[in-house]
Symmetry: C2
Subunit: 193 residues, 2 copies
């Protein structure tokens, strides 16, 4: 982080690192190329469990090969589905509400076709609300948002608005660069009890 | 940081820690009880230099006794003056522009009498602009703001507006809690080259 501008994707890791410990159950809601999945796998170790979602099979293939190269694939479950079905899929896997230590969202490359923006926002909020119920005490959710992408500004505004409305035991935070146009944004949710 | 809500004063340390190294020159612009001065002293070690400002002598006495207890006082210079004179006082101490690795501001307990709010804001912005010129490449400034205090909302808004206008090589960031009333706010400035 020295001379480079702080980046929301790096910060998400910095915020999560002190929260995670070996044995934790965690979710990468948007696997993409697998960077966050690998990070989570490294934090929770061999005794942890990682669930990685992506609606695009090609993304999960990339994630799988990244994990293979790092010999970190054993306790990672790859799920090819929209993150709006996180809750259903985790309950299928016998993961209970309130038992997940971290959920990561990176909405930079929103997967799937090209539905109307309003649908994207609705899907995102549904997925976030669902993920919130999974979080354990001391758990954390990170959401990287990219207002510079088409539809990204509406999505970011909706997520920030959603964060503003959350009640205890959840605390919502927001990190943003001030002197850039449409900078990436990080929303962090903590469950404090 | 586990089950407790993230706090801007802790985060300022987390952001600064990877930036600082032994031998660095750093400034605590608002010494107060000395917590940040001690933190800075610990980061820059015996070979570093720390300058701590406070307009109230009683604050510097508290800072001195905290440092004494930690046996960290040798290379700390305590300066009883308003932080608006940071630049003058540092140049007096033969510290050049562009040679300070970190400057910390904590505007929670604004020192001094009770001037009009507009004066406070002007003084703050003058101090920040002055401190900016001191920052070295790779340097960082942290500013904790408390919109809940009288005049604090105007001050926070002014500092955020100032951050939005900064140009390269400076990058300004903002961290804030979303679901609290008038939450403390952290502005972070990096000098990237």
């Amino acid at each position: 982080m020295k001379n480079k501008p702080l980046r929301v994707t790096d910060l998400a890791w910095e915020f999560l690192r002190p929260v995670l410990k070996p044995g934790d159950t965690v979710v990468d809601a948007t696997a993409g190329t697998g960077q966050d999945t690998l990070f989570l796998r490294q934090c929770v170790g061999e005794s942890g469990r990682v669930f990685a979602f992506d609606i695009q099979a090609v993304a999960l293939q990339q994630t799988k090969s990244l994990l293979d190269n790092s010999k970190s694939v054993d306790n990672v479950t790859l799920i090819c589905d929209s993150h709006e079905f996180i809750m259903t899929r985790l309950i299928d896997a016998e993961i209970e509400e309130g038992s997940v230590k971290a959920v990561m969202f990176n909405l930079g490359y929103f997967p799937g076709g090209d539905p109307a923006i309003i649908t994207k926002v609705e899907t995102t909020i549904k997925a976030l609300s669902s993920a919130l119920r999974l979080l354990s005490t001391g758990g954390m959710m990170t959401i990287c948002l990219y207002p510079g992408h088409p539809g990204g500004a509406e999505e970011a505004q909706a997520v920030i608005g959603w964060g503003e409305m959350l009640e205890a035991p959840f605390v919502a935070h927001h990190f943003q660069t001030l002197n850039r146009k449409s900078p990436p944004t990080l929303v962090i949710i903590q469950r404090t009890r």
